[in-house]
């Protein structure tokens, strides 16, 4: 808490206040609205005198001292700003008009500047920031899904600091290099996950070629454009937000207890003709808890995981300034608590919990150097720290899922620390708390200076903007590790009843190690804009030059390529024309270069043409269909590239020459040494490699009806990606290459649609807004370098990228007759109760030739969101649902394939469904030999017949969840005014409160097939937002 006050003080001190004593005049007056109701808390400031100002009181009255010939500015949220020049008038009464926003006035930010939405020909979507800020995690990527049309994605993990969402704009269209979008923050390529959400002014998703062509070889996967807030002139406005978030987990896997586990284990052994592991009396000792040393029953999950953890987030920003200079200043702090329990005795020494802390600051200053020149300086930085237990997070989850409840106790009764084996097969409590801890910290500093010059004095409508800047980033890992001495007790006592211990590992005192990485990005950006209206002809032109270099600065190793900057430069341009905003034509191009390719193949030209027809602007519509505010049809065609290569390959056009080990010749005479090893191409050059090319088409409709009550956008897209970079693994041997070259040979086509629908309604004093959006995308490989397969269905060509493939399970074998009468399965021995597969190719044998495409892909191909918000007087409420569909995935691993790794692996509750197949010899009931049972005959150890990819293990990843539920209360103006604040809002937000899914073992969004990962958070936020 102290540091929060300090933060506040520091930020306050940064602002200097100045008052000049001039010829002062005391002005009084009242502010009312159109209905002559007094407005409370209207901010009144003196233009160009930053820091001076007052607010209206409970009756809407104000009193301010002001010099003559100064301008008073009246502003309040929801009203149009009004300015009044003070001459001699001692009384100023003002009527403020309620502000009305219209779609026709909305602007959209693109790479070539802002543009009126009305005249835009491109497919872009802007993200609703009010929903974004409700996201309780540190990364804004988590709020994109279901919030903006055109974005598909899934959250990777629930772990603080790693809880980010991987997203793809309009899905995946490549299998070669990266499929991730280009993220630009203030026009610079930057990480989306480190930005403070409260600093963001706009987020725009650029989807089609009409807006991405200018990014040339980097734009094919779509672009996310983020701009940060800038200072506004007027009285200083201080905004403070403070949130306490209690996190639990959406779905935490539960495990069977020791007695159930032991019985299942025995069943798995007996049913496969092994002797049982537990004798009846041992089961009885286990059940009664008579021997916690040898027959423990530990709930490791409860021992290791807390029920919930707190996250604290605070944000303070202030903005103000005058005509000559404006500033936006912000600082934020987030502390996400991990879910791991810690050892109380070690708590004072170090923290093994998975905590994440981040500090962000930002200072955006705009200075009017001359009347037509603005200098903008933006400096921001972040420092984040993340903790993990000594052995790391992966092992934490691996061990938790692996260590059965009856393996060993937490500690033996004599204080010895148990373990079964070395490495990660150790006791989970040791992994979580006794192996030391790791700290990862990252520090980023981002600087950009831009100058904007208005050349109206040369020719009207000509502007220039230049940006230079650099970002530095460093990443450090500090490992402080130790290890306790460990023992294993044999599960038999000696004749005196004593435990027999085996020494497993020696103790390791605390030691430390560290590693680090870092990079630096430098960039220039110059842009000329020209906009001119001549009569009804509106023309615009843009020319832009960019150059950027990213270089690794730390831990370069001995490979010289590591130290060479990744450079890009390009020229982009745009020409637009519209007639009365009715008929719009637009031409964009990028001429980009990447140093990664062979000279002569480094530059490419990426054109895009687009056009739109604003039917809503036609006089016959305006006159006859007055409820139609906007109707626009637009179409774009263009080509964009993607220069991200698989495995981040550098300079594929160069070959590598290396020595052949043990292959050389001694050229010298006896007694002399002139031995030379032979050389060969360890990697042949692929001189013709270049970026992959996307040809994008988009047909879009924008509609606004009934005074913007209904707003809808719908876009149909189609993309052909060609020249996908891939290794030529199937060249004939007679070509004689010792290594595999690469080429741009793959092709993928994809198509789909995205759209949004918004509906606003006012019912009495209740304002209702309903929002929904949807994105669907389907792709198909049209060309890939693969071996021709006898069975066409086994090719990758013709199927989705990363299409799930496997056998089709027909249920379980009923009896041996069923086995005899079915095609032979060649994976391993099988018995009644094992999985029976379909013979797809009809050759009488089940083998890998019977694998077919089943289901879809792990990544969802459909994402949608539906939300409703309502406000009534000072109460506001919103709810947002998000869903995903067309997603299937295989589950596997030690907890899904029960006992597949012997006694290593817990049994997850529910993993066997309602009824597993049990031999009648064990259950005594023939009906348990159910060929339609939900889980096959248990087995112990590997079972290649059952445990392989098939529809039996294929799960449906579709879900719908109550992503956000938010209730807020804004304190009455009368009260807030009395304590000299503008507004105070208290809010309660729930996140991921409910999830509906067919798959119930772990969160369906979590991108793990094994479930062994940090579950996604479900949280409750209580917060306050104060505006001064």
């Amino acid at each position: 808490m102290i540091n929060k006050i300090l933060l506040t003080c520091l930020l306050l001190l940064c602002v200097s206040f100045g008052v000049s004593a001039q010829d002062m005049l005391e002005v009084t007056g009242a502010v009312v609205d159109a209905k002559s109701t007094p407005i409370i808390g209207v901010s009144i400031s003196i233009k160009d005198s930053p820091g001076l100002g007052t607010t209206t009181d409970n009756k809407g009255n104000f009193k301010i001292k002001v010099a003559r010939y100064k301008t008073l500015v009246f502003s309040s949220v929801g009203y149009v700003k009004q300015e009044v020049l003070v001459k001699d008038n001692r009384s100023v009464n003002v009527t403020l008009k309620e502000s009305e926003s219209s779609v026709l006035e909305e602007v959209v930010v693109t790479g070539t500047g802002t543009q009126r939405k009305l005249t835009s020909t491109a497919a872009t979507s802007s993200v609703d920031l009010s929903t974004m800020t409700k996201n309780p995690t540190s990364s804004i990527s988590n709020a994109l899904i279901g919030n903006a049309p055109g974005v598909l994605g899934m959250m990777q993990s629930g772990q603080p600091g790693k809880n980010i969402t991987e997203f793809w704009i309009r899905g995946i269209s490549t299998f070669g290099g990266g499929a991730s979008a280009l993220v630009l923050v203030d026009n610079i390529e930057r990480d989306i996950n480190d930005i403070n959400i409260e600093d963001i002014e706009t987020i725009n998703i650029l989807k089609d070629a009409a807006v991405t062509a200018i990014y040339g070889s980097k734009g094919a996967n779509g672009v996310v454009l983020i701009t940060t807030k800038r200072g506004k002139d007027g009285k200083i406005s201080i905004n403070f937000k403070d949130e306490h978030i209690y996190n639990t987990r959406t779905i935490t896997p539960e495990f069977e207890d020791g007695v159930t586990y032991a019985n299942l284990l025995n069943e798995a052994r007996i049913t496969r003709n092994f002797e049982p592991i537990y004798q009846p009396e041992e089961l009885e000792i286990l059940r009664l808890g008579l021997d916690p040393d040898l027959y423990p029953n530990v709930n490791w999950k409860d021992l290791l995981l807390k029920d919930g953890a707190m996250t604290y987030r605070a944000n303070l920003n202030m903005t103000g300034g005058g005509a000559t200079a404006r500033y936006f200043l912000s600082g934020s702090y987030i502390n996400e608590g991990g879910m791991y329990k810690t050892d109380e005795t070690l708590r004072n020494d170090y923290n093994t919990n998975a905590n994440y802390k981040r500090y962000n600051y930002r200072l955006n200053t705009d200075i009017n150097v001359t009347k037509s020149t603005v200098l903008k300086i933006g400096v921001s930085g972040s420092l984040n720290k993340r903790n993990s237990p000594g052995l790391g997070d992966d092992d934490f989850w691996g061990v938790l899922f692996g260590y059965s409840p009856i393996r060993t106790p937490v500690l033996y009764s004599n204080g010895y620390v148990p373990a079964i084996g070395t490495g990660n097969q150790t006791n989970p409590w040791v992994v979580a708390t006794q192996t030391g801890y790791n700290e990862n910290w990252q520090n980023k500093i981002q600087t950009n200076i831009s100058i904007e010059q208005n050349f109206d004095f040369i020719t009207k409508g000509l502007r220039f903007r230049g940006i230079i800047g650099y970002d530095t980033n460093n990443d450090n890992n500090i490992y402080r590790r130790k290890w306790p001495e460990q023992w294993r007790a044999e599960r038999a006592r000696d004749e005196n009843g004593n435990l027999i211990f085996t020494h497993i590992s020696d103790p390791q005192e605390l030691y430390q190690a560290s590693s680090s990485g870092g990079d630096r990005r430098e960039f220039y950006d110059m842009m000329f804009n020209y906009d001119r209206s001549i009569g009804n002809h509106n023309i615009g032109a843009v020319a832009r030059f960019t150059r950027d270099a990213l270089v690794r600065t730390v831990d370069l190793g001995d490979d010289i390529k590591n130290g060479i900057a990744k450079r890009n430069q390009g020229l982009a341009g745009r020409l637009t024309y519209n007639w009365k905003s009715r008929y719009i034509a637009d031409f964009n191009f990028g001429y980009n270069g990447s140093e990664n390719f062979a000279p002569g193949r480094q530059y490419g030209f990426f054109p895009a043409v687009s056009a739109a027809w604003n039917i809503g602007e036609e006089p016959f519509v305006k006159e006859n269909i007055s409820w139609m505010n906007m109707l626009k049809i637009r179409y774009s065609w263009g080509r964009v590239g993607n220069d991200q290569l698989a495995n981040d390959v550098r300079f594929p056009y160069l070959s590598t020459i290396g020595e052949i080990a043990n292959n050389g010749y001694q050229w010298a005479d006896y007694g002399f040494d002139r031995y030379f090893t032979a050389l060969r191409y360890t990697q042949v050059a692929s001189p013709n490699v270049t970026w992959e090319m996307a040809t994008k088409k988009n047909l879009g409709f924008d509609v606004a009806l009934f005074k913007d009550k209904i707003i809808a956008n719908l876009d149909f897209f189609n993309e052909a990606r060609t020249g996908i970079y891939m290794a030529r693994n199937y060249l004939p041997i007679m070509v004689g290459l010792g290594s595999v070259p690469s080429a741009n040979v793959g092709a993928v086509k994809s198509s789909g649609f995205d759209g949004r629908l918004e509906y606003k309604q006012k019912l009495g004093e209740v304002n209702l807004t309903a929002r929904s959006n949807i994105t669907y995308s389907k792709n198909e490989i049209t060309e890939i370098d693969e071996e021709n397969n006898v069975y066409g269905y086994q090719n990758q060509k013709g199927y989705r990228v990363d299409q799930a493939k496997g056998l089709i399970a027909l249920g379980l074998f009923k009896d041996y007759d069923d086995i005899r009468n079915s095609p032979e399965q060649t994976f391993g021995t099988y018995q009644p109760g094992d999985i029976k597969y379909k013979d797809i190719n009809g050759d009488g044998v089940i083998d890998d030739g019977d694998r077919v495409a089943i289901g879809a892909t792990r990544r969802p191909n459909l994402i949608y969101g539906v939300g409703l918000s309502a406000s009534w007087k000072s109460l506001d409420f919103s709810v947002h649902f998000q869903g995903a569909g067309k997603s299937t995935f295989f589950t596997y691993g030690k907890t899904v394939y029960a006992f597949s790794e012997g006694e290593w692996g817990q049994i997850m509750k529910g993993v066997m469904g309602d009824n597993r197949w049990i031999s009648a010899d064990i259950s005594g009931d023939p009906s348990t030999e159910d060929p339609n049972a939900s889980y096959p005959r248990l087995s112990y150890g590997a079972n290649p017949n059952n445990f392989r990819e098939s529809t039996f293990w294929l799960k449906n990843g579709q879900y719908i969840r109550l992503k956000t539920l938010d209730i807020g209360y804004t304190l009455p103006k009368a009260l807030t005014n009395r304590i000299k604040t503008n507004s105070i809002r208290i809010f309660l937000t729930g996140s991921n409160l409910l999830t509906w899914s067919k798959f119930k073992l772990w969160d369906p969004e979590l991108a793990t097939p094994r479930g062994e990962d940090y579950p996604l958070p479900k949280s409750l936020t209580l917060g306050i937002n104060v505006n001064l």
Binding site: I236, E281, N496, H503
Partner: protein
């Protein structure tokens, strides 16, 4: 200046808000972190009777895990004494209505008695039915211990003592055992790579070092007249001492060098004719040394003959001669098979040997006949007379029991060449390893960990085994009827 005031006043307000916040959230922050609790139960109530209602399982032998159900057992195992068949059982735990103990040995009567409340005034509960105690051949521990860290020293001492420091310990090398032909209460042992000659003395239950001047002693045998002990040494040089002779008259403290040769893996004396046979690892040489001539006129240290070679160089083997002298088993330690060489009574030497069981270099574990059986490092064996064969009037009356070191088992080879597993590799449910330290039923429970030396006491009908990795001397015998012999 006004703005400044506003700001500082606002700060105070923040302060108040903070108090509110902390109060609200303090409740959430105080999460308790208690770990798993093991079942708790009521303490013993001396005013109430102790009732034994049932027990499980109903039958078993020594060391059987037994659960007794009833009431008022209390929660302190130290306060509970269980007597089965009049013998005190080890109580592991008591939890009010159940307790867990290990069936003591010799609990033949099987009546169960639970005494709670200390030695002085115990409250006694008795079971209605008796535990059915089964007497059988069992593996037990004679001497030695291994502490958890495995750092106990080689030490002379008693077989067993409450004070570990008084116990004999060590034994972590491969051993060779031989009973004294005159005193069946004396068992002589050497350990490869240990310089000592050890005496396991059953008269006073001690293990003592008698000599400590060897370099890799590999075997012990006695001359035909039983007056001399011969210890073979495994040394590298052609002129190193390979067989040493000690006389009983001098308490085996003297020393005479019988032969000099390299890499001897053991020596045996023919039980009828008295000549000595030994080997060399170097080329697989099989040597004969005429002890009779040595004693009656003398024989040089290199005057041994080489009737044949066994297979190839680097062949580690032992020659163990049948009590009748009719044949010898040649146990190929490092190649996993056993050969037989018949004795040529005319020439007074052994004929060329042939395979009896196992496969050359075919180490593995499989019971079977002849070459279908698999063994892995047969280390030492003993011939044991089989009463069934005597009754059936068979020509060969002896089975051959040998330690199968890498298989952690005691195997049995019949005169017909059938190999079975006699003891070890039990407790299949414990873990998937065949090795470990478990006493009890020979096949069901017992485990060894690299058994090496083995000796058979005809007097007791008991086997003694040097269990190398368990660092103990183990014993296989029918469970004792009384406590006169502690082991």
């Amino acid at each position: 200046m006004r703005t400044k005031q506003v700001a500082s006043r606002a700060l105070c307000r923040f302060g108040r808000l903070w108090v509110f916040m902390i109060l609200t959230f303090g409740i959430w922050a105080c999460k308790n972190d208690t770990t798993a609790i093991i079942g708790e139960s009521k303490p013993f109530d001396p005013t109430k009777p102790v009732i034994v209602s049932d027990f499980s399982p109903k039958s078993g032998g020594m060391g059987q895990r037994l659960i007794i159900y009833g009431q008022n057992f209390g929660n302190d195992p130290k306060n509970v004494a269980v007597y089965i068949g009049g013998k005190k059982a080890v109580v592991i735990n008591a939890l009010g209505e159940s307790l867990y103990c290990l069936v003591p040995k010799q609990a033949f009567k099987g009546d169960i008695e639970v005494r709670v409340g200390g030695e002085d005034k115990p409250v006694i509960g008795k079971a209605e039915n008796n535990f059915e105690y089964q007497r059988k051949l069992v593996v037990s521990t004679l001497a030695g211990y291994r502490n958890a860290r495995g750092d106990e020293p080689w030490k002379d001492g008693k077989f067993n003592d409450p004070d570990q420091t008084k116990m004999a310990s060590g034994f972590w090398l491969s051993s060779f055992m031989k009973f004294d032909p005159i005193n069946p209460k004396h068992l002589w042992v050497t350990f490869d790579n240990n310089n000592g000659l050890y005496l396991i003395n059953f008269e006073d239950s001690t293990i003592t070092t008698r000599r400590s001047d060897f370099d890799r002693p590999r075997s012990i045998d006695f001359t035909l007249d039983k007056n001399y002990m011969i210890v073979a040494q495994d040394r590298g040089g052609e002129n190193d001492d390979s067989n040493l002779l000690f006389s009983r008259a001098r308490n085996f403290l003297d020393k005479e060098v019988l032969t000099k040769s390299r890499q001897c893996n053991g020596a045996s004396v023919h039980p009828v004719n008295g000549e000595m046979y030994f080997n060399s690892y170097a080329k697989g040489e099989f040597y004969r040394f005429d002890l009779n001539q040595y004693f009656n006129g003398g024989l040089g240290q290199k005057e041994y003959t080489n009737p044949f070679l066994i297979q190839d160089p680097e062949w580690e083997y032992r020659i163990l001669i049948h009590p009748t002298g009719n044949y010898a088993y040649i146990m190929i330690v490092n190649r996993g098979y056993i050969m037989r060489a018949d004795y040529n009574w005319e020439k007074k030497t052994f004929n060329q040997p042939y395979l009896v069981c196992g496969k050359v270099r075919g180490g593995g574990y499989k019971d079977g006949v002849g070459s279908s059986a698999q063994i892995d490092q047969p280390y030492q064996g003993v011939f044991v007379k089989n009463q069934d064969y005597v009754d059936a009037n068979k020509p060969d009356l002896y089975d051959f029991y040998f330690t199968d070191l890498n298989n952690h088992a005691i195997r049995k080879l019949t005169p017909e060449g059938a190999v079975t597993t006699f003891a070890g590799r039990g407790s299949a449910s414990l873990n998937s390893n065949p090795y470990g330290y478990v006493n009890g039923d020979l096949r069901e429970e017992a485990r060894f960990d690299r058994p090496s030396g083995i000796a058979y006491s005809e007097e007791e009908h008991a086997f003694y085994i040097g269990d190398r990795e368990n660092r103990r001397i183990r014993k296989i015998a029918l469970e004792e009827m009384d406590e006169s012999n502690q082991n």
